[in-house]
């Protein structure tokens, strides 16, 4: 029996959506171990989400319909992002679904709505988070587009499925060497897009230093659950994209045997585990940068991405 598009789509969507809290739990555990703490169990985020879902919701008095609409849009765009990004397998979607510029725009759309939610509270904390988030989006955009377009140039295909298929088919060491600066820039952008160190501190308790957490400060109960889950899902989606390019092994393809799906899901879990380890370690070893030095970070990301692209051009001629 061969793998149909629908089976693949359902299986990989389910895998990513179920794994998302686990990724966050693993990151927390890694960070706890770095801090010589025992840390909570890696399934703790599921319980946290479940208890948020049961809680009563409060909404700030000076907010409008936009505030209530934001969690739906943020979660919906993140779900679309997570299901179109190649995770356990590739080939399930039409080429247009995982187009690089579409994926970039979907990520941005989620960020914009999150910022609108932060602005609709009437509180300075939400406002600050919102304007920082939009600044980060604006500064990250050039590097993000260049990285994605360079990957597309390597693969000769502008959709993520095609890019992953290219890296899976190419000899690993040669292709990694060739794409090294681009992948480094991708990592920098992924860290920024997911509000991780050194751009943002996801574990801070000080409102003045927050970006993502400041925007969701006024949300509670099920809305908070939706936003927390969306943030975990976004990290997982970017993580599986990054890992599938860096370690393009064990990826199922539509049309191969059904057993490949099991291999795909298993390797996805391993890759996400490694990604969580990477993120947790980075967050324990790096320090957060001052917000007003962010232009240096993004200039660096841009220059690396630029160098990666020029290297790619030079390599082919």
């Amino acid at each position: 029996m061969n793998l149909s598009s629908l089976t693949m789509l359902l299986a990989e969507s389910a895998a990513v959506m179920l794994a998302a809290p686990l990724v966050v739990g693993t990151v927390h555990l890694v960070k706890a171990r770095f801090q010589n703490r025992r840390g909570a169990s890696i399934v703790q985020p599921y319980w946290a989400l479940a208890s948020l879902l049961r809680k009563e919701m409060t909404v700030p008095e000076h907010s409008s319909w936009v505030f209530r609409f934001v969690p739906y849009v943020v979660l919906a765009t993140t779900i679309v992002l997570a299901v179109v990004v190649p995770s356990a397998g590739i080939g399930a979607w039409p080429a247009a679904a995982s187009n690089i510029f579409l994926v970039a725009a979907l990520a941005t759309l989620g960020s914009v709505f999150l910022a609108l939610g932060g602005m609709d509270t009437g509180s300075t904390f939400g406002n600050m988070g919102a304007n920082r988030e939009m600044t980060l989006v604006a500064l990250a955009e050039p590097a993000l587009l260049i990285v994605l377009a360079t990957l597309a140039f390597f693969a000769g295909s502008a959709n993520l499925d095609g890019i992953v298929a290219f890296f899976a088919a190419a000899p690993w060491r040669a292709s990694m060497l060739m794409a090294l600066p681009t992948l480094l820039a991708l990592l920098l952008v992924v860290l920024a897009e997911n509000a991780r160190y050194p751009v943002d501190n996801p574990a801070t308790h000080l409102e003045l230093t927050m970006v993502h957490e400041a925007m969701v400060l006024e949300y509670s109960g099920p809305y908070l659950a939706a936003l927390e889950y969306a943030s975990a899902l976004r990290l997982t989606a970017f993580g599986s994209l990054f890992m599938n390019i860096v370690f393009p092994f064990g990826i199922a393809t539509v049309g191969t045997g059904v057993e490949m799906l099991a291999v795909g899901v298993l390797s996805l879990v391993l890759k996400l585990g490694f990604f969580a380890l990477l993120i947790g370690s980075l967050e324990s070893l790096l320090v957060k940068m001052r917000f007003y030095r962010m232009q240096e970070y993004f200039t660096l990301a841009f220059l690396i991405a630029f160098a990666g692209a020029v290297l790619a051009f030079a390599h082919t001629f």
């Binding site: 319909w65 039409p94 679904a97 910022a115 609108l116 009437g122 955009e141 377009a149 962010m294």
Partner: protein
């Protein structure tokens, strides 16, 4: 039939302008006038649609004029509907009959520019349009409007001089030459003459389209006009400038690569400066004007790509890149018209109801006007080129074409890379600008008493922006099927992927469908997972001290990081002045924060030029000593010089 529709359009505009002067105690005259204008717009729209749908019909307009004629018609229709509800709010500010007359003449001028068959008619119509626009800018006769109008008038006359000399150079000095005759004479010109004509036309049309460095007038002039006219100035007149440039391009037998590169460079510079100033601007309408500069810059850069590809040896890759850039020009011309006029209507409504254009004094409107805020949100997302609205799909074609350009030979690939990076930054800044616009005007708490109780909105104020938002949704779903039908892209059915090059596909139906499906799942998920317990409205987290609207971030505060990161370019200056009130206690003091941003081009381009001119004038003045003998000597020297040169 098409010819009579065009005639009807002109006739109703003229009749409406005359009708406006009939005195009446109610709004009847005003309504009939703008009803006539709206009808003229419908007639123009029909004429254009007919010409595009059936190009073989007798009297059908050619494709390019028909497209722009349709935009003028649609703009006239929307602006007239809007004016019915909008202008009575300003009965005391504007002389309504004269404003209606200027409005009609302005539209007649634009329609005539698009239809003009010869150099002279084109130039006359162009001047009619420009001068009528001047009267729209100074309509409220305030000090700032008069100043903006003066700057506009100077720039538009410089631009007109450039256009006139450029066209006459191409036509070999024959003012009555028709367009085919101009193309005929232009084919005999030498390359340097063609290059001079090209630069003149680029300056002329570029100054009207707001290209850097001739953009200085635009952010002053467009916002000063009444909002229904601002919508036409930004949404339509800039497109007429684009049309003029497109027409004149068709006369050139070939355009050398450096000139195409010049178009790209000016386009990207305009896009960058427009987006950056939009991001740091606090005035609602001026922000929109800056964004017009950005969008026209993007369109001109894509046009430059098309010209550059045409100047180079062709290959399948370059053909795909050029086709993508051309598709972007068409789609973005349409989409920018829709969202920009919609946003200007919305800005006019906000300014009329809250009596301020300052984003720092607005806020909280989403709670008062839920439906209207939804419309503006859709328009803002569209202006930020985010899915699922039409603008995103237009920009996607452009970005995708540039990404294809990575496979071009070495220097060109780096050009594509730099362009992609620049457009990424421009896109990011415009997302910043429009999320700032929407969130500071509509979200949170009102920052002033007027914004607290803005009153209700009449349908005439809501319908035009709503039409814009709906049309943008339509332009996302229908753009690609239409492109496939004219062969600019390929797709099997209207719902399937549209491919512009191998490996580059997009599908608006899929994107919208996925987003709607995901939203549906989230809604259903919420109903299934969450017990129907009520939502409690509580106070915002205030750290124990009551919050006031003054603690909210303003638009100025929102843009602070961008002002800081780009301080060398927006010339940001910040000064904190502390003046002690009591000499004994330094803490009792008056504190004042002065900050400003300035125009890079004004400081480093216009001011040096004007300083140079003034210095030259001062040097000349020393000749003017008032001694009669000296003047006689000058005349003698001049006479001798003339004789020497003549003989």
């Amino acid at each position: 039939m098409i010819a009579s529709l065009v005639t009807i359009s002109f006739a109703f505009l003229a009749a409406g302008a005359l009708l406006a002067f009939v005195p009446s105690r109610t709004d009847a005259t005003h309504r009939v006038t703008y009803g006539a204008f709206a009808f003229a717009g419908v007639a123009a729209l029909f004429a254009a649609a007919w010409s595009l749908a059936a190009p073989q019909t007798l009297g059908a307009l050619p494709m390019t004029p028909a497209f722009f004629f349709g935009i003028i018609g649609a703009g006239t229709l929307l602006a007239s509907i809007y004016a019915v509800g909008y202008l009575p709010l300003y009965r005391d500010t504007y002389a309504l009959p004269w404003l209606a007359a200027a409005f009609a003449v302005f539209i007649i001028g634009m329609e005539a520019v698009v239809l003009a068959p010869s150099v002279l008619l084109f130039l006359v119509s162009w001047e009619v349009m420009s001068v009528a626009a001047y009267f729209l800018v100074i309509a409220d006769s305030s000090e700032s409007s008069l100043h903006a109008g003066l700057v506009y008038l100077i720039m538009t006359q410089i631009g007109f001089a450039a256009i006139a000399s450029g066209l006459l150079l191409l036509a070999d000095g024959a003012p009555f030459a028709t367009w085919p005759m101009v193309a005929q004479t232009a084919s005999h010109l030498s390359p340097p003459e063609l290059a001079i004509a090209f630069v003149l036309l680029l300056i002329g049309f570029g100054s009207k389209a707001g290209l850097v460095p001739f953009h200085q007038w635009l952010p002053h002039a467009h916002p000063q006009a009444p909002s229904h006219a601002s919508a036409l100035l930004s949404g339509v007149m800039l497109k007429v400038a684009l049309f003029g440039f497109l027409v004149s391009l068709s006369f050139f037998p070939s355009i050398p690569l450096p000139l195409a590169a010049l178009v790209i460079a000016l386009g990207l510079l305009s896009a960058f400066f427009g987006a950056l100033h939009a991001a740091v601007e606090d005035d609602l309408k001026r922000l929109l004007a800056w964004s017009s500069i950005e969008n026209m810059g993007l369109i001109f850069s894509a046009l430059g790509v098309v010209l550059a590809v045409a100047a180079m040896p062709s290959s399948p890759l370059s053909a795909a890149v050029a086709a993508g850039a051309a598709v972007f020009v068409v789609l973005h011309t349409l989409n920018h018209f829709l969202f920009k006029s919609g946003l200007f209507f919305a800005a006019g409504t906000i300014a009329a109801k809250t009596h301020t254009r300052d984003l720092d004094a607005l806020g909280g409107l989403a709670a008062r006007w839920p439906f209207f805020s939804g419309v503006v949100l859709a328009l803002s997302l569209s202006a930020a080129a985010l899915p699922p609205l039409g603008t995103f799909f237009g920009e996607w074609v452009y970005l995708q074409s540039l990404a294809l350009g990575f496979a071009a030979p070495m220097p060109l690939a780096v050009v594509a890379l730099v362009m992609l990076g620049t457009i990424g930054l421009v896109g990011g800044l415009s997302i910043f600008a429009f999320s700032k616009l929407f969130s500071t005007a509509f979200l949170g708490r009102a920052r002033s008493a007027r914004a607290e109780n803005p009153g209700t909105l009449s349908p005439s104020l809501i319908i035009p922006p709503l039409v814009g938002a709906v049309a943008l949704m339509g332009s996302s779903l229908l753009a690609f099927p239409l492109l496939s039908s004219i062969g600019a892209a390929s797709a099997r059915s209207i719902f399937s992927d549209t491919t512009i090059a191998p490996g580059a596909a997009m599908n608006a139906w899929l994107v919208s469908g996925l987003l709607v499906a995901a939203l549906g799942i989230v809604f259903l998920g919420r109903r299934a997972l969450v017990s129907a317990r009520g939502v409690r409205v509580t106070g915002t987290w205030d750290c124990g001290a009551p919050l006031s609207p003054r603690m909210e971030q303003t638009a100025t505060g929102f843009a602070a990081p961008i002002r800081f990161f780009f301080r060398a370019i927006v010339l940001a200056r910040k000064e904190f002045i502390v003046e002690p009130v009591v000499a004994s206690n330094p803490w009792i003091a008056e504190r004042q924060l002065l900050w400003s941003v300035a125009s890079f081009w004004e400081r480093f381009f216009y001011q040096p030029i004007s300083a140079l001119v003034l210095r030259a004038a001062r040097t000349m003045r020393s000749l003017q000593s008032g001694v009669v003998q000296l003047y006689l000597l000058f005349m003698l020297v001049a006479l001798i010089l003339v004789l020497v040169i003549a003989l």
